[in-house]
């Protein structure tokens, strides 16, 4: 696969098709980089680097100690190898753990003071950091009237948060939405209470690493009884080379509150792989509800599998209160390697967890993704709908755990896992783990694997669609259950992404 000239092509496939496929590498829309002066921590990882990150963020001592504890543990543990992904060994000493634009050394007091280059970067990504009616991650489209809804954005560029919009308006509703570094300084009581309470420092290799070196991320607190007046979103952008991004997100929904949170991510095209290891913790108290939607569009690497983001993410929601609810929706189209299992701990009685996922892998991408539903409380309910799509040489694994503990009486789970294959060189795998430790709970699991049917494609083409349009249509149909679970702005973007991600997968 090293170069396309030497590729043996099927009879009837002309050079034009080969060229079209080759161009797919160019289909990634966000592969450009911002030329900006950066300040780096020295390469490599040791306790001095950890202290330096803490220092850069002007953190109190308890936070520094917390990080050091994590780092000491990380040094003693080994990378997990159980997932179905293969990648060259990561040299953790051969990268930067902190990179911030020089212009961010003095923290801007308001968005007006932010470096225009940074603002332009987000503008170009379709995320204008202006306090106007804006749409998260979506270019204005005919079908949505722009200006209908407000979305507050926290923009994270490499290791730092560039700015957060609508802070004042949110504050008047009692909502705290800021970068995690600001929260550590301004709201230490909340951070101390909740940080690491869902994903402990000791949780897993990457979470431990993140606990030691996380540089920024978002913090959300919704006070009791408050319905957040707008959608909140964080947009992560990796720009610097050889730099890992380690962000930390902490969301707390106090009793009876509600928030919908969106996350988007992109990175420039590079030949070498880059590491992204995030941790997201969500705490949901009594009668509260959180919706967390992700459109993950990290650079997936080129068509030969060079470069791309290695995405090792730990996301977990703790439904602590009775009748609390969480809904994870993810559209994973990017990254060279994805290792991610957004999970729900259903601790409160009658709490509910939902997980809707679309994972698309093309070329040499690999994804091992799924969820964990841990039922601890009585009458807890969970629902999993996973759609995996593989094309090219990609491998796509669904890995999910449903666990009914002895006290989780009368609990229910429904899992539906569908895989779609495009071409004959890709793979789909389903690895469900089911544990039931009481006799009043019910777990259902359905799984299907299908191929994009030639007759379906021919039918679409006979009606005038070209092959890629036809594939996109059929695949969007396949993903419909999940797309419907997304907030409308994201659903539109996701549909387009589905089409873009699969460009060149046929022909």
């Amino acid at each position: 696969m090293a170069n396309f000239e030497s590729v043996e092509v099927k009879e009837g496939v002309d050079q034009e098709t080969v060229d079209a496929v080759r161009e797919v590498g160019g289909a990634y829309k966000y592969g450009w980089e911002t030329d900006i002066e950066m300040e780096y921590a020295p390469k490599g990882l040791n306790s001095d680097i950890v202290k330096l990150i803490s220092d850069k963020n002007e953190e109190p001592e308890w936070m520094t100690d917390w990080r050091i504890k994590a780092f000491n543990r990380w040094e003693k543990i080994k990378e997990p190898k159980w997932s179905m992904v293969n990648y060259p060994e990561i040299d953790f000493q051969d990268q930067y753990y902190y990179a911030r634009p020089k212009s961010m050394t003095e923290k801007p007091k308001s968005l007006d003071e932010v470096d225009p280059k940074l603002l332009a970067t987000y503008e170009k990504l379709g995320i204008p950091l202006k306090e106007q009616m804006l749409l998260a991650g979506v270019e204005a489209s005919d079908d949505i009237e722009q200006g209908e809804r407000k979305v507050a954005v926290d923009a994270v560029f490499d290791s730092v948060s560039v700015g957060t919009t609508f802070q004042k308006e949110l504050k008047s509703a009692g909502v705290i939405f800021c970068s995690i570094s600001e929260a550590i300084r301004e709201h230490p009581e909340l951070v101390k209470k909740y940080l690491g309470s869902v994903v402990p420092v000791t949780d897993n290799y990457y979470a431990t690493l993140n606990s030691a070196v996380f540089s920024d991320g978002s913090f959300v607190y919704i006070p009791p009884g408050v319905r957040c007046p707008m959608e909140l979103s964080t947009y992560f952008r990796i720009n610097a080379e050889n730099t890992g991004q380690f962000e930390r997100t902490l969301i707390i929904a106090d009793k009876g509150s509600y928030v919908s949170y969106l996350e988007g991510c992109t990175a420039p095209k590079r030949d070498t792989a880059q590491l992204h290891a995030a941790v997201v913790e969500i705490i949901i108290e009594e009668d509260a509800e959180v919706k967390y939607s992700t459109v993950q569009n990290w650079y997936p690497g080129d068509e030969d599998g060079n470069g791309g983001i290695y995405n090792f993410v730990t996301k977990r929601a703790d439904c602590r209160g009775d009748r609390s609810k969480v809904m994870w929706t993810q559209v994973e189209t990017g990254s060279a390697v994805t290792w991610k299992y957004p999970s729900c701990i259903l601790r409160g009685d009658d709490s509910q967890g939902e997980f809707y996922s679309i994972a698309i892998t093309n070329n040499h991408q690999q994804a091992d993704t799924g969820t964990k539903m841990v039922h601890l409380g009585k009458n807890t309910k969970s629902r999993i709908v996973s759609k995996g799509i593989s094309a090219g040489f990609a491998q796509n694994t669904y890995r999910g755990l449903v666990s009914m503990h002895p006290k989780a009486k009368n609990s229910r789970n429904y899992t539906q896992c569908d895989s779609l294959l495009i071409g004959d060189k890709c793979g789909a795998h389903t690895v469900p783990y089911i544990e039931v430790k009481n006799n009043s709970s019910r777990v259902e699991h359905e799984a299907t694997t299908s191929k994009v049917d030639d007759d379906q494609l021919f039918y679409c083409r006979q009606r005038g669609m070209d092959e890629e349009e036809a594939v996109a249509l059929v695949v969007n149909g396949f993903c419909k259950d999940v797309l419907q679970a997304l907030p409308m702005e994201f659903a539109m973007e996701a549909q387009q992404l589905v089409a873009i991600s699969l460009e060149g997968s046929v022909g």
Binding site: F458, Q462, R463, G477
Partner: protein, 251 residues
């Protein structure tokens, strides 16, 4: 309109000749019917004309309005005005009938360099067309052909045909699986599209469809060739005497 000259087609991978030199010309404004026993090559002809994979053209030519279509991709043939009403329309789960139709209409418009249809314009037209085929709003929302009855599927094909306004319509055994009422409805849909600028090729086993869609010319196909051509009376002859007599006569 459609000119087929000495078309010879093999089944790919099998080297088996299915069409052994088909000659046929459909003029604009005319309805031609092809009748023939099972295995005579009727459906193959419709697939080859629309560009389905799995067939190898080993000789002859096909042109649509003087344009050679054999080198075109299926979607290019569609944009050039060729429409096939499928014998077995496929199901596409999760894709709304309307979404499908709109995507198809706009894909063809784009290919022809025309402006895309706005959603209001599209809705108005689709509702009008659907009404005359007794297709209700609910059926328009359902996923393409999923859970449709035989009659609904065929009516849906005619709706697509009406929306796409093709120049050359091929109907492949559109009467199969239809009861008398459905056949009437479908035929009315087809008849309403008859137009001086549009040609039809109706493939059928039975004469009964031709009671509703009156052909100008009837061809009998057997063993990969057109063996006899005549007026509407030829269809009646088949109905009364069966194929064997005609085949014996031409043999």
């Amino acid at each position: 309109m459609l000119k087929i000259k000495n078309l010879r087609v093999n089944l790919e991978d099998e080297n088996k000749e299915i069409l052994k030199g088909v000659d046929l010309t459909v003029e604009a404004g005319k309805v031609h019917a092809i009748m023939g026993p099972n295995g005579s090559g009727k459906s193959t002809l419709s697939y080859v004309l629309s560009g389905k994979d799995g067939y190898e053209v080993v000789g002859g030519s096909v042109s649509l309005n003087d344009e050679d279509i054999l080198e075109m991709e299926p979607e290019e043939r569609a944009a050039a005005g060729l429409f096939l009403a499928f014998q077995y329309p496929v199901e596409i789960p999760g894709v709304g009938n309307m979404t499908f139709l709109r995507t198809a209409v706009n894909a063809q418009r784009k290919a022809r360099g025309d402006k895309e249809m706005s959603s209001t314009e599209f809705l108005k037209e689709v509702r009008e067309r659907a009404k005359s085929l007794q297709i209700d709003a609910e059926m328009l929302k359902r996923p393409v052909n999923v859970g449709f009855s035989g009659g609904e599927k065929k009516r849906n094909e005619i709706l697509q045909m009406a929306m796409l306004e093709p120049k050359m319509c091929i109907l492949d055994e559109t009467d199969s699986g239809l009861d008398v009422d459905a056949m009437k409805l479908v035929s009315e849909g087809v008849n309403s599209l008859r137009d001086a600028g549009r040609g039809f090729l109706v493939i059928t086993h039975y004469q009964r469809l031709l009671d509703h869609i009156k052909p100008d010319v009837v061809h009998i196909m057997a063993n990969g060739r057109i063996v006899k051509t005549g007026g509407p009376e030829l269809a009646l002859e088949v109905e009364n005497n069966g194929y064997s007599e005609i085949l014996a006569e031409v043999a």
